[in-house]
Symmetry: C2
Subunit: 454 residues, 2 copies
């Protein structure tokens, strides 16, 4: 029996565990799951004979080391900042390791040690990062292999609510950490490349500079720029592209409405409001509007944001009940972002029967034989229920498939890495297809941003 | 002879030195000026027999201590962050000290030592902070002395160009550190009190939430909120006021136009632009606008900011020449704020014959005998030339007058302090009047923000 240790069995572990259990007989696997919450982990294993659920506190070195020593490979599904202790033990006890998280500088620093011990530390092998890397490099490598030269790459990902559960005016529910949604885009200008020009978008304009994305069978979406569009330029070998843009997907109209919160300062996470506990939702909104003894909060809000009476965006705010004077914030000394998050969670929390959806959209522009071409690739994955979500599927399956591929010696190259090589992405993307995680490709006219130069 | 040591003889020292030299015979004063730039300091003393200009590097402990030891009182006109070494020596050698800077935590920490040694460390005794404290407390104390209860305090200050030199469309020139003007308002939401409600304005709305101020003989101004409106609430004894607001004065229309730079991200000081050296002004503006192969930067700018063709604000941008494709940024790896500052300095640098202007506006609302009252107090000081500026006058004269008052035992209370007591402000405001720094007071109807409650 090969022993796979999974540390942390949170929301995104359901498909990971399901996949490995299904393979456990034919592949001779024992799955050990270590978590602080043993009961929750046991629900996911369903008393499968090839599993063992143990209580594990990652900060307790003794029990952590004991579990790692017995494993043949270690998967850390912990929050990213907790991986490093596990990773150091994996060096010490010579175990391969898999995570879905961004490579931290501390993790990167272990590269030499990993290589010296012939160990594979695979990271960023969830959905974003993860499937985005693999699906992008799959097309980029193919274009290069036939002699094409990449000139444009755009990549968008979004975690959304599935169409059948999409029943609010924002066409949005929280399918992941709500806090990340509320503070998205903060912390500096978004920087990207358009036709060889660096472009910068400050936070207060981010949600007004969107672009449309049409996905066959799912209609129109919009994308707003990530802060870090240039992050993988070198890694993907795209140093000479003219356009490089990475973004986040929402349904059309979300960003325009969200911008109201940005403009008024309601997403600010940098200061706390002293008496927030005793504020109503209406008081909270009013704190960002000028005082008036007579004008309503509604009219001041409309006036400040120049929202016409017949503008449908207005209904979005009414739907959130932000003008309610009876609903209390209740949070003590909270930041505006924390208060807004609470208000949104009233409306945007998934119901028990709701399904989620992951949408990915890549654009690849390239030159071949003196002509410009473009391939668009789209992927939509739908969740089944609140346990087997699209998020959990697209995060967990690549982790699971990679783990088995490492165990079986199909992925061989040692070192701290992300899934951008053919060796890694080819078998994983192929197997994902059999799980309905499928990219559709479209040959489209190259548009870029400069149609005159075609 | 009493020896006054002035450390640092920069732009704001001209009136300070002039005043002390004029008093040097009758008051038996020797003025020692220590600066890195001896020649510049000598220009300000004009070879007056009661002066001595010495080369002084504040970081050279030996020469610093030698100069301080010989002084009866020390004035530090250095940038605020350099005061502390001087202050520590003043404790050691038991010298009184005067600065025009905000009290830093390090300075405040010397309070006990200062008191134990019966030393006066007078700070914040320039114009803002300085004259604002004194002129505000003068009226507040008077209202209280006759039994009134403060309910509103608003205070605005601005350094502007004098009307006779006001010849650009922004009605603005740099009369102080240009950098502070470019990054003004950044770093967090402005917080203030309006009718007992805390109000918050994020940076991106700061320049759209102005209020008008009419000053007799000088027309209309506008004020935008400072970040720190509540800073002196306790110090001024205003814990129970309903409205507390501090702001910065500009000519009407400045803020609306400035907001364009804020909206586009051109005032951002948090990142650098790699190839800024080779950018034209036009390239710089274009970096904050979407790419287009055909549309002009001008039209994209207008469209992004929704500036109609016949909106006069447009001429303000044209006047700054920001669309010029020949003028180069030249600064290497500069932040947007640094580049914008350079562009503005082309247009907003004072000419040799230009005069500056300081404008201050206070509003005091109070209840007395069951009625609400309001006093508005305004002060305008004009500069004479580029040496004897209004800024230098309103910063330097209070410093000089306070220094002499301390030397003559008229200000007696020891400790690290700011000028908010009658002992301090009464003689200083009185003497400032003889130098034409005069507050005009107006009894006006109390408006507050709630006329219905009058």
């Amino acid at each position: 029996m090969r022993n796979i240790l999974i540390i942390g069995a949170g929301k995104s572990s359901s498909y990971l565990i399901k996949y490995l259990l299904e393979k456990s007989q034919t592949e001779n696997l024992k799955i050990t799951i270590g978590d602080l919450n043993v009961d929750n982990a046991k629900k996911l294993t369903g008393n499968h004979p090839n599993t063992d659920v143990i209580h594990l506190d990652v900060f307790n070195a003794e029990s952590r080391v004991a579990a790692i020593k017995q494993a043949d490979i270690v998967i850390s599904m912990l929050p990213a900042r907790f991986h490093i202790e596990v990773a150091k033990d994996c060096i010490t006890y010579k175990k391969n390791m898999v995570t879905a998280s961004y490579v931290s500088p501390e993790m990167q620093a272990l590269d030499e040690d990993a290589k010296a011990n012939n160990l594979i530390f695979m990271n960023e092998i969830g959905v974003d990062p993860g499937i985005d890397h693999m699906s992008a490099m799959h097309v980029i490598d193919r274009i290069r292999d036939k002699g094409g030269k990449m000139i444009l790459f755009e990549s968008f990902t979004g975690g959304l609510v599935a169409p059948e559960s999409d029943n609010n005016l924002w066409n949005y529910k929280f399918t992941w950490n709500p806090r990340n949604v509320v503070v998205a885009g903060q912390g500096g200008a978004a920087k990207f490349l358009q036709e060889n020009q660096f472009k910068y978008i400050p936070y207060n304009r981010l949600f007004r500079r969107t672009e449309f994305l049409d996905v066959e069978g799912f209609g129109r979406f919009e994308g707003y720029a990530n802060r870090d569009s240039l992050k993988y330029q070198e890694v993907y070998g795209l140093d000479n592209v003219k356009t490089l843009y990475r973004g986040t997907i929402r349904r059309v109209g979300f960003s325009r409405a969200w911008n109201a919160f940005v403009q008024l300062g309601m997403t600010d996470d940098s200061y706390t409001i002293d008496d927030s506990k005793n504020m109503s939702y209406r008081d909270f909104v009013n704190a960002f509007l000028p005082y008036s003894p007579t004008d309503s909060v509604e009219l001041k809000f409309r006036h400040a944001l120049k929202i016409d009476q017949d503008d449908m965006v207005w209904e979005k705010f009414v739907e959130l009940d932000i003008f309610n004077d009876d609903k209390m914030v209740e949070l003590d000394k909270a930041t505006p972002a924390q208060i807004l998050q609470k208000i949104l969670m009233d409306s945007w929390t998934l119901d028990q029967e709701d399904k989620d959806m992951i949408v990915m959209y890549h654009k690849f522009g390239y030159e071949l034989d003196g002509k410009k071409h473009q391939i668009d690739a789209t992927m939509v994955t739908l969740g089944k229920d609140q346990t087997y979500t699209a998020m959990s599927k697209t995060v967990g399956l690549p982790v699971a498939i990679a783990t088995l591929a490492i165990l079986n010696g199909k992925i061989k190259t040692p070192g701290v890495q992300i899934p951008i090589t053919k060796e890694v992405y080819t078998p994983i993307l192929k197997e994902l297809e059999s799980h309905d995680v499928i990219f559709k490709e479209y040959e489209v006219p190259y548009l870029g941003y400069n149609p005159l130069s075609i």
